[in-house]
Amino acid sequence: MAQSEVTAQHAIAHHPALAHHFENMEQQREASTLGMWVFLITEIMFFGGLFLAYSIYRSWYPQVFAEASHHLDILLGGINTVVLITSSLTMALAVYHSQVGNRGKLVLFLILTMLLGLTFLGIKVIEYSHKFHDGLIPGIHFHYEGPHPQQAQIFFWLYFAMTGLHALHMIIGVSILAFLIYFAWRGRYSPEYHSPVEISGLYWHFVDIVWIFLFPLLYLVGFHVKG
């Protein structure tokens, strides 16, 4: 009899979103955040490998890297930096409104974040098509007017590998946002349960941080050298 009473109490106190292997919502939320951070560290490490490759080749061919970076559009890269930082603000505000339980504003800020993410990708498409027309895609059709085209090709290889992987992360982020918007609109998230919004926010901000490093290293590296 005592056993059934406990079970009954458990059923009443149990938040529907609480997975059975967690003691309470607090522990579940803490575990989600920690798990996401462990995943983000694997991301830091593999992006780190590319930044390391960039550092070594740049230390070998500083002039060629500066010269090759003149082929990147600082205005478009700068606009994208502003777009991405703004999207981080709207994402942070989305998390805020999920914490205080304002469903309308949560949906609004998630949509704004998604639109900014799509804007970033649209500008990236314009940039990539310019590079394609200029023959700056590494490979057999690579065409470069300046001195040391082979070393410049390494710069463009790194440019496409790093911004391409970053863009892939943006595409994944926008897809995650689509799911979040749907479930937020359906009213799944509340001040007690909004871990999906919180950890998707962590992912979005991480992708923003990668760009914070990519912009100065790829676009601004040769700005001070006359082209």
Partner: protein, 104 residues
């Protein structure tokens, strides 16, 4: 321990700082600074921006000690990878070449 809700004001302030630092990094990049100061300034600004994002947008300043330790450990491992590899590439050629016996 309940969840810490960061006030909106803080988010706006961090956003303003990130925008200002972006403008500064573009402005400074135009000048030809001596030595390797161009890259030092660019990376200092980028690290400052990243730190602001991690502490405030990603809530690490208000997270549990366990999360904070994991974040710091991750960055520490990244630094190991970068510094140890750079210590090889940067110091190559610093020593006089070893003259082999057969060449004498």
């Amino acid at each position: 321990m309940s969840e810490h809700i960061v006030p909106k004001k803080t988010y706006y302030a961090v956003f303003g700082a990130l925008m200002a630092l972006t403008a500064i990094t573009v402005f400074v990049a135009r000048f030809d600074l001596p030595w390797i100061l161009n890259i030092v300034v660019a990376l200092t600004i980028a690290v400052t921006k990243a730190t602001l994002v991690v502490l405030y947008f990603m809530h690490v300043r208000y997270s549990s000690r366990l999360t904070q330790v994991v974040v710091v450990a991750g960055i520490f491992w990244l630094v190991i990878m970068l510094v140890l590899t750079a210590s090889d590439y940067v110091t190559r050629g610093l020593l006089a070449p070893v003259v082999s016996i057969s060449a004498q």
